[in-house]
């Protein structure tokens, strides 16, 4: 269905997954008023997500992208794959949150509906075919996450995290809007496909105005992804936010940022690849360098994982730099793998949290293998995967990105990435060292719950399975993006 002149009921069809999820969010708000137990709210939230997942599954597999709402919205394999990441992120986050939010004394139904609204925002971003829809999706995601970051209102750190995230996020939105405005002014449209056509038709590939617009858009997306030098909010916000939200933020907005970055750069600014590649390369190197090096001297594990997530954003960006659809595929593949390993690592951090004990210092992991061998073994797997040691999934993710990079002729970048990847082994393996080679300090008590076990089982199994049988995921992502 192409751009019609009238709206029909068929326009709803590609939008069904988002609609399902939004309805679930609304239901949760109401449900929260009548149901006391938050577990039920959480369960309904997961059910709603699974319904949306089912809708995406049913809609998956059209060879041609489906446009709807006068070309505002597009359903294609690319967006569907990213939606899969968002669903997984949402489900896993809900699973690891239930017990944790109780301990934080911030358990409320709105928490789950906000998570769902944020995820809806990401999905809208991934499916946006128009910069206006993209902007609104981004704001929906951003506003929900600002609130989530500050949800533990009694905690000074949480307040500060929300404050920083909000101010800097709004600042970056300003840049995004100016970028959209300039692009619109030069091409006369906000539709992503039409922008590409207009750029060719008007022959403005080398226009400094368009370049300025593109840069401003990249600034905003770089902020969401946490690419240096727009990454500085990330460590502070990740550290201050409730840990479950940190897990959510480190995957969701990043993936959404990459989804729109890929779509806008490849589709709208496809004619300016030379320009944006030369912008992204220094960003990628700086991102990997800062992330890997600063993480070395961290003492707080959430903060360390924040820097790690910055470094990983650098690796993922390499797939975009490769500049081919295959490169973008490898980035999407990496993001999916990153979802599992990162949320898994955060889940272990959450398990250490208990009444009156934060469990966020790396020191707190001392001797974990002695008291809780299973938890330590899981953390070991996640750390290995984040480092990129075969046969974990992390290796496969990195391998494909580097391979695509080399195929595109950026061998030197791949070498740099491998070097930083080797440096990053130090701080990941430091955790392993603390767990396995140090004697326990004080007694470690682990808080667990059935939903937490499910999340850990999913993440751990996927990290291992995708490491050993990567072709399944790779076929999926190739089929989704390359068709």
């Amino acid at each position: 269905m192409d751009a019609g002149t009238t709206l029909t009921i068929m326009d709803i069809r590609p939008f069904v997954p988002e609609l399902t999820l939004l309805c679930a969010g609304l239901i949760l708000i109401l449900l929260d008023l009548i149901v006391k137990r938050k577990e039920i709210v959480a369960a309904v939230g997961v059910a709603g997500t699974i319904a949306a997942l089912y809708a995406t599954y049913k809609l998956f597999g059209y060879a041609q992208p489906q446009y709807a709402f006068f070309d505002m919205f597009v359903l294609d394999g690319y967006s569907s794959f990213f939606k899969l990441i968002f669903y997984l992120n949402l489900i896993l986050t809900i699973c690891i949150s239930v017990k944790f939010m109780e301990i934080e004394k911030a358990s409320c139904g709105e928490y789950y509906s906000l998570l769902i609204f944020a995820t809806s925002g990401m999905m809208i971003m991934a499916s946006a075919a128009d910069l206006i829809v993209l902007y609104l999706g981004l704001e929906l995601m951003a506003l929900s996450t600002y609130i989530l970051a500050g949800l533990t209102r009694k905690r000074h750190r949480s307040n500060e995290a929300a404050l920083k995230y909000f101010f800097l996020g709004a600042f970056s939105s300003g840049f995004l809007l100016y970028g959209i405005s300039l692009t619109f002014g030069l091409t006369g449209t906000t539709n992503i496909r039409d922008i590409a056509h207009a750029i060719y038709a008007l022959n403005v590939m080398d226009s400094p105005i368009l370049y300025l617009g593109m840069i401003f858009i990249v600034v905003a997306f770089g902020f969401k992804i946490a690419l240096a030098p727009f990454h500085m909010w990330a460590p502070d916000v990740y550290e201050g936010a409730p840990t479950s939200i940190t897990a959510f933020m480190s995957v969701g907005p990043k993936a959404a940022g990459f989804a729109v970055l890929g779509r806008v750069l490849f589709d709208a600014f496809g004619g300016m690849q030379v320009q944006w590649t030369s912008v992204l390369i220094p960003m990628a190197v700086l991102t990997m360098a800062l992330g890997s090096i600063i993480a070395l001297s961290q003492t707080n594990i959430k903060r360390m994982l924040a820097y790690s997530s910055i470094a990983h954003a650098g690796y993922m960006l390499l797939g975009v730099i490769a500049g081919t659809p295959e490169g973008l595929t490898s980035t999407a593949n990496y993001l999916m793998i990153y979802t599992f390993m990162n949320i898994g690592a955060f889940a272990i951090v959450i398990m250490l949290r208990r009444e009156g004990f934060r469990g966020e210092n790396i020191e707190d992991f001392k001797g974990l293998s002695k008291s809780h061998p299973l938890a330590a073994a899981l953390m070991l797997i996640f750390m290995f995967s984040l480092t990129g040691i075969p046969p974990t999934a992390g290796f496969v993710g990195k391998f494909y990105v580097f391979m695509e990079l080399i195929n595109s002729g950026y061998t030197y970048l791949a070498v740099i990435a491998v070097v930083f990847s080797a440096i990053s082994a130090f701080f990941y393996l430091r955790i392993v060292m603390y767990m396995y080679m140090k004697d326990p300090g004080e007694e470690i008590v682990i808080t667990t719950s059935p939903s937490m076990s499910i999340a850990l089982a999913i993440t751990c199994v996927m990290v291992l399975i995708l490491g050993v049988f990567p072709s399944f995921l790779l076929n999926l992502v190739r089929y989704s993006i390359l068709g």
Partner: protein, 100 residues
Amino acid sequence: MVPLSWYIMLSAVMFSIGVFGFLARRNLIIMFISLELMLNSVNVSLVAFSHYLQSMNGQILVFFVITVAAAEAAIGLAILIAYYKNNPTIKVDEINLLKG
């Protein structure tokens, strides 16, 4: 007629002033106002483009920007108040518990 570039230059100046306000002021509320100034400068440019290109897109986007700005103000000020309750300051250089 007034050339399009004049409007855009005006908007660029306002945007830069907004950025300056955000970067240089210590008071969070004034920083927030500077953010609003940035958004308004964008709106000016959008309306100007919309007029000169005889397209509706720009005006519609401005409409949405205003909507989002309202939502943003509500949330931002709520976060600010929540912060202020725990730590009564709105000086940006005193807000650095999280660093390193």
